[in-house]
Amino acid sequence: MNDDVVIKVDLVSKTFRLPHEKNSSLKGLVLNFYKGKRTYETQQVLKAISFEIKRGEFFGIVGRNGSGKSTLLKILAGIYFPTEGEIHISGRLTPFIELGVGFSPELTGRENVFLNGSLLGFNRKEMSSMYDDIVEFAELHRFMDQKLKNYSSGMQVRLAFSIAIRANPDILLLDEVLAVGDAAFQKKCYEYFMELKKNKKTVVLVTHDMGAVRQYCDSAIMIEDGVIIKQGKAEVIAQAYQKLFATEAEAAMKKEMQFKTKIAKEDRWGSGSLMVDKSTINLNDDEVTISVTYIANRKIDPPILGFNIYDSAGTDIVEGNTQRSRKKTYPMEPGEKVIIKWQIPNIFKDDSYNISLSCCDQSTVNFYDWFNKANSFTISRGSPTAAIVAPKVTIKSYSKINGSAE
């Protein structure tokens, strides 16, 4: 291995066994064994990954959720063992990948400092000498004798970070450390990272944050479905990652737009077993005639056909269907068409009207087609009114009533 290479990942694969139903009992084990059933499926999370990290490199691992990047980091940390392949690491590694691991909520801040320090390999004496600096850095003087469960999450992270940076390892592994903490804390992290860079420490950072990748990382890899799909300078990877999301967002948006225009054009829903094929409207002063052609796409029992007429405000003015009109309908074969003509007295006032056409089965639960704004018509008699409808009003008689004096 080259002297400059501190981490060498060689064809590492990781396969998880995912139990179908977690067999936490012997009975289940015995039963399944007896039946000869496979009780798990395997999922290959990492597929023969190889890369090298050089001494002093700030190395980013980026990828989407579920791409395998955290698994990779856990393998580097020695928490998981690779199913295949090998990892060579030279130098001391941080033993943890998250801040605050091993904190005990029932212990005080002070006790947790010593406990956490022991995870880094510091004994009580060494921790005592560092204790004041840690508290200083975390800015938690007043809280050290309180139980950790009473700390806010931000305070916990501050304390954990302050201890973690004492570890002084050769290689630092970090998983999404920048996601937590307020602006002031992030500034501290930033300063710490800059110092690490200056001191030529090797850092492996797993993150979604391309800002962090650009700012700190020298080089990076992008993982997708367990394979490295791109490897190179941080800027190149950051761009590739954002592009990956941009193209995906674009495609998703396009799809949605198509859907929306379709919906806007044709506001309809239903199973489609029977569909409105076309419709025409005939108007005269006395009547409105709506002719609708239906086409069957499947063999169906006698359906209910119907319509609704809405005014421009969306008020349902008239409703009609074959059941209400006590009209028997025909059962239909695929491809068969029917035509129905509705006649409605022209009671409509000056306005524009939309017609919804529909068809459903006799239970009126399963709709074959509900077609909003299937057709429309406008009435303009030149006599607007505030009333809802304007049926023809005629005067039957008009006369003076005489003879009262008689």
């Binding site: 066994r17 928490i79 029932e106 212990l107 022991s118």
Partner: protein, 267 residues
């Protein structure tokens, strides 16, 4: 290898884990650490009253009370060591999933809690011995070695059970029942010397528990204790319980090492 196992890092972590365990155990209780002495003292008093005063259990040996206590203390140690360790790996799942520490360290830290309890109990036994005017012989020097054998036997089981528990939660119940059987297989409440059939005595003394407990009574309490050397007249057979101890330990360690590779995924 020993250098690696007892590295500074491991020692520091072990000490801190044990300290945390101990701290958390008596947290929220008014008497605190006093309980760790008071509890065995009170339990022994009850045992003494029930078995020695009322039931008048006759072991056929002098210092019956201390004789009884010694058995109970070692039995409790074994029980705490094994049953207490079963959930140790699963209980520390947060550590195992996020940090690289030797997994056995967790089981050992739990076992050390049991060792601390044992040492406190031995202090209480010492008190009872003084009250009973038990004469101490030079044989008491064997006592630590006997305890070590019991610890190794218990550790083998603890490692096996804690690793198996990660996969099969039935382990708790199985072990509970097994312990119940072991309790009666161990001559705690009955005088083994008075059992009629030699074959039963031999079966009883196959168990490292019977062997260590009787030898502890022999070296500390009274020379009239019936030990493995009387059960098996052939001296070669007397090593059987010790061999079993070593075999159990090796099986436990081997199984634990194999399973520990996937603890982080399985928990």
């Amino acid at each position: 290898m020993f250098k690696r196992i007892f590295s500074k890092k491991n020692r520091v972590l072990l000490a801190e884990l044990v300290r945390t365990d101990f701290k958390l155990r008596y947290q929220g209780s008014a008497l605190g650490y006093i309980w760790s002495l008071l509890r065995p003292l009170l339990l022994f008093t009850i045992l003494y009253l029930v078995f020695i005063k009322f039931l008048k259990v006759n072991y056929g040996v002098p210092h019956s009370a201390v004789y009884l206590l010694m058995g109970i203390v070692l039995w409790n140690f074994f029980l705490e060591l094994t049953a207490g360790s079963i959930g140790s790996i699963v209980g520390r799942g947060d550590l195992i999933r996020k940090i690289r520490i030797p997994r056995w360290l967790i089981v050992v830290s739990t076992s050390l809690s049991a060792v601390i309890s044992l040492l406190l109990n031995i202090v209480v036994i010492g008190v009872f011995m003084t009250l009973n005017h038990v004469a101490v012989s030079v044989d008491i020097l064997w006592f630590p070695l006997i305890l070590l054998e019991l610890y190794i036997f218990g550790m083998g089981i603890a490692l096996f059970l804690s690793a198996a528990f990660v996969r099969y939660r039935d382990v708790t119940y199985i072990w509970e029942v097994t312990c119940q059987a072991l309790f009666y297989l161990t001559p705690l409440l009955y005088p083994v010397a008075k059992l009629h059939w030699p074959i039963i005595r031999e079966i009883i003394f196959l168990s490292p528990l019977s062997q260590t407990i009787q030898e502890a009574r022999y070296t500390v309490v009274t020379k009239q204790t019936y030990t493995v050397f009387q059960a098996f007249h052939n001296n070669l057979l007397t090593v059987i319980p010790m061999a079993i101890t070593i075999i159990v330990f090796i099986i436990g360690v081997t199984y634990f090492r194999k399973r520990s590779l996937t603890f982080a995924e399985d928990i």
